[in-house]
């Protein structure tokens, strides 16, 4: 009994002598919601942090901190010295990388390494590349949702869910860097009254080399993840009438072959489409031949876009955004090992064909 009392007293003393080192009240912290990273002078970064103001009123306000520092921890230190609260990055929602930072591979490597190493920043933080300066994006005033971090985060989640974009979190970006060396990160642009994410930035070897337009993005997403994807609208013009089709379900079969450094990839895509809009009073849709013509025109249009996109990937960017490398590594490892040092060239010379077949499932509520 005496011994357990001794242990108990020791325990209690130890607890009482603590300084409760980590006890910081929740209202004594400032939470960064969004941070923009631009390139500064002398190897520094220009950090722009958005911090929502804590107030009980219905109006949401925010603070913007800007500072030049070498890395995140220096930035926190700097804000520690000029704020009455403790800055915290545990609730960070979005990281926006400015175009200037994205064009410099060493900058990307430093930033990504620091985020990866930090135990506080959640790896599921959203990531986007800014067109222009990240500072402009962060300081944008959006009337409907003043906190840009929350706005961008919800927008990115929605886009990923509907399969508009391939990557939306830092974790995916990091894993893609390590596995494929190149990836598409959503590109944020400033428009009047808000922000828009339509295109994506191609990052290869940790450097921003170009952008992909909305249509190119759509086609790559179609080939990457067919089970979840959809084509929103295929607009064709036939006999002076504009017809708009939307593909609601897509079935794809891939055939990838690697023989003696010659890579062949064939995608067989079946698009099941609805007709979204036509012309009032025009009865041509009941005519089978007209429907066949629609199919042929649409197929040709999509095929042309696809050929252009793949050409761009192979010849201009030379980056395997279709993740064919992944399937080669996993399912044809012995063949892949022979060409892995020369993969970029092999991909450039590869024969990638996409064969479309369109089925019109329904014309809507009227004929």
């Amino acid at each position: 009994m005496k011994k357990s009392l001794l242990i108990l007293v020791t325990l209690v003393l130890v607890l009482l002598l603590t300084g409760c080192w980590d006890n910081v009240e929740i209202n004594d912290r400032e939470y960064i919601f969004a941070v923009g990273i631009d390139k500064g002078e002398d190897d520094n970064f220009l950090f722009t942090a958005e911090i929502p103001k804590i107030n009980e009123g219905s109006e949401e306000e925010r603070l913007i901190y800007t500072a030049e520092s070498k890395n995140f921890s220096n930035f926190y230190n700097d804000s520690f010295l000029r704020s009455d609260k403790v800055i915290s990055d545990r609730l960070m929602q979005v990281i926006v990388i400015g175009e200037s930072t994205a064009s410099d591979p060493s900058c990307i490597k430093r930033i990504f390494d620091e985020i990866e190493r930090s135990p506080q920043i959640n790896r599921r933080v959203k990531i986007a590349v800014a067109k222009g300066d990240a500072k402009d994006i962060i300081t944008t005033e959006i009337p409907s949702n003043p906190i840009v971090g929350r706005y961008l985060s919800e927008l990115l989640v929605k886009l990923k869910k509907e399969n508009y974009q391939d990557i939306y979190t830092f974790d995916e970006a990091l894993l893609n860097f390590k596995d494929f060396n190149s990836e598409m990160i959503p590109l944020v642009e400033k428009i009047d009254d808000g922000l828009k994410i339509e295109k994506s930035a191609v990052i290869k070897n940790y450097q921003h080399i170009g952008n992909l337009s909305y249509e190119e993005n759509e086609i790559i997403m179609l080939l990457l993840d067919p089970s979840n994807s959809n084509m929103k609208s295929v607009n064709i013009k036939l006999e002076d009438s504009s017809i708009s089709l939307g593909a609601v379900s897509i079935r794809t079969i891939e055939r990838i072959d690697l023989e003696n450094s010659k890579l062949t990839a064939n995608y067989y895509v079946d698009l099941f489409c609805y007709i979204d809009s036509f012309e009032l009073g025009n009865k041509s849709l009941s005519d089978q031949k007209f429907l066949e013509q629609i199919k042929v025109t649409a197929t040709n249009q999509i095929s042309e876009q696809t050929v252009n996109t793949i050409n761009k990937l192979q010849k201009i960017y030379k980056s395997d955004l279709l993740k064919i490398k992944d399937k080669l590594y996993k399912f044809h490892k012995t063949d892949y090992d022979k060409i892995k040092d020369n993969y970029e060239q092999v991909f450039s010379d590869a024969n990638i064909n996409v064969h479309y077949s369109i089925e019109i499932k329904s014309t809507g509520l009227v004929k």
């Binding site: 607890l15 910081v24 929740i26 804590i54 009980e56």
Partner: protein, 499 residues
């Protein structure tokens, strides 16, 4: 413990006996000494001694005594008192329940003080005890602390014999054994140990009897005295003996193979051994449909961690790990705490203290005012503190939820021990956050695993849930009556099967 007293024999001279009694029981004005002359030809002189108020008048009426003495042969009484008395009783028509011979003065004093009537006969060295206990007592009514929606509404009262009767009515088996004892050197309180012979665990029974025999105390005013004196670990906050005011609970305990201890002058009987799951059960679980009982039991087991941990979690999450909260909630909590002067742990501690004060106050105040105080206290203090900016609304919600969860625990003394532990957890959370709470949980688990109730591990059947998996049917859920056929394995009682 019996003191080595010199036992004085009863004198043959009636006057001497009365004088000795008056000497021993002097200054006790409620003791009545009556002299009678009855029997054939009014020749036999007798003295009747009893306490007014403790006896049933009919038993000591002259008619009854006269009737008895007429059929008594004094010489036979000297030789073989028992037999003679039995014979006399058989011939009479009086309604005395029990008649016994008394040999010593001390014994007669004890019987008088217990409410019996003692008859001293001149020229006879034996006195006669007439059982005549008949004091005013509270009727059999519903126990106020253990109410059920469906089930019997009779409860124990202060008379031990009534309590034993209530139990006997439910178990009409010759194997139900009752053993009497007397504990308390001054109070000499009657204790009855009940058990069913072929169901009880012999080792537990022996331990109970041994511990009861070892009690050395002056007075036993309530069964809780006995509970404290025979339990395994006095320093533990958790009770190791269950108590109840309901006869059906006591009968159910007997059928499980446990030992029931009834104490005179208290309506609470003790049931040993008692483990963790026993305190989370209520009789009502067995009287409702088994599916609804399952749900209610699961709710109780969910309420258990809520009542211990919720205030501590509030402190730990807001002060140490705010990133656990969803973003909007974190901002809302931060905003609501902006003008509050106290840190989170002080808020939690203060509100818990206020709830305890309200609870204690509500017990002391009787009548309709009591329930009003509870309502008023809760509403007014909580609401006003929030408006005055002393605490946050979230703290009020947390504390109210905790209090409500603690009321779902059926056993009152168990939930009281949980209240104490709650404060310890708040303290640990304030110093070390979730790490402190986990360490507190570890210490709690160690303590519960060390605790034993008469040799049975306290956390049975969870602590050997693979071996005793049949017992798990009656813990978090309550399986159909058909399946609750096996006696609890953890009790290791003799007979395995039987409902």
């Amino acid at each position: 413990m019996k003191e080595n007293k010199v036992e004085r024999k009863i004198e043959t001279d009636l006057n001497k006996n009365i004088a000795i009694l008056k000497e021993i029981l002097k200054d006790a004005d409620d003791i009545i000494y009556r002299r009678l002359e009855c029997g054939k030809n009014q020749k036999i002189k007798m003295g009747v001694v009893y306490i007014d108020g403790m006896t049933d008048k009919d038993s000591v009426s002259e008619y009854a005594i006269d009737n008895l003495i007429e059929n008594l042969d004094l010489e036979e009484l000297e030789k073989n008192a028992e037999k003679e008395l039995q014979g006399a009783i058989a011939k009479t028509s009086i309604s005395v329940l029990e008649v016994k011979p008394i040999l010593t003065i001390e014994d007669s004093v004890l019987k008088i003080l217990s409410g019996e009537t003692v008859l001293f006969i001149d020229t006879c060295s034996k006195a006669i005890m007439l059982s005549s206990r008949g004091w005013p007592m509270r009727g059999v009514s519903e126990p106020s602390t253990e109410t059920v929606l469906r089930g019997a509404r009779d409860g124990f009262n202060e008379t031990m014999k009534v309590n034993l009767t209530l139990i006997r009515r439910r178990i009409r088996d010759p194997k139900l054994k009752v053993k009497y004892m007397q504990i308390g050197s001054v109070s000499k309180t009657d204790i009855a140990i009940m058990y069913i012979e072929d169901k009880v665990n012999e080792d537990v029974l022996k331990a109970v009897q041994k511990r009861l025999n070892n009690i050395n105390i002056e007075a036993v005013l309530e069964s809780s005295y006995i509970e404290e004196l025979i339990e395994d670990d006095n320093y533990s906050p958790f009770p190791q003996i269950e108590n109840t005011e309901r006869p059906d609970a006591a009968a159910s305990a007997l059928l499980e193979g446990r030992v029931v201890i009834a104490v005179d002058n208290t309506p609470t009987v003790l049931m040993a051994p008692a483990i963790f799951t026993a305190f989370m059960q209520s009789s009502e679980d067995y009287y409702e449909r088994w599916l609804s009982s399952c749900m209610i039991r699961i709710i109780r087991y969910i309420a258990l961690p809520i009542t211990i941990l919720l205030p501590a979690m509030y402190v730990a999450i807001t002060s140490f790990h705010p990133n656990m909260l969803p973003t909007e909630l974190a901002l809302y909590v931060a905003a609501s705490r902006a003008n509050v002067p106290f840190p989170a742990y002080f808020e939690a501690f203060l509100m818990e203290l206020v709830i305890e004060l309200i609870r204690e106050a509500a017990i002391r105040i009787i009548g309709p005012v009591g329930s009003t105080i509870g309502l008023v206290g809760g509403l007014v203090i909580g609401q006003s503190s929030v408006e005055a900016g002393l605490i946050t609304p979230l703290a009020v919600i947390v504390v109210a939820l905790t209090a409500i969860a603690s009321f779902t625990i059926p056993s009152y003394n168990f939930s009281t021990s949980l209240r104490m532990i709650r404060f310890a957890f708040i303290f640990l959370a304030a110093t070390m956050g979730l790490f402190g709470i986990s360490i507190g949980l570890c210490i709690l688990i160690i303590h519960l695993c060390t605790l034993k109730s008469f040799g049975i591990p306290y956390l049975s059947p969870f602590s050997s849930f693979v071996e005793n998996k049949k017992d798990l049917k009656d813990t978090v859920i309550r399986h159909k009556i058909h399946n609750l056929v096996h006696r609890p394995q953890y009790l290791r009682s003799k007979k395995e099967k039987g409902l």
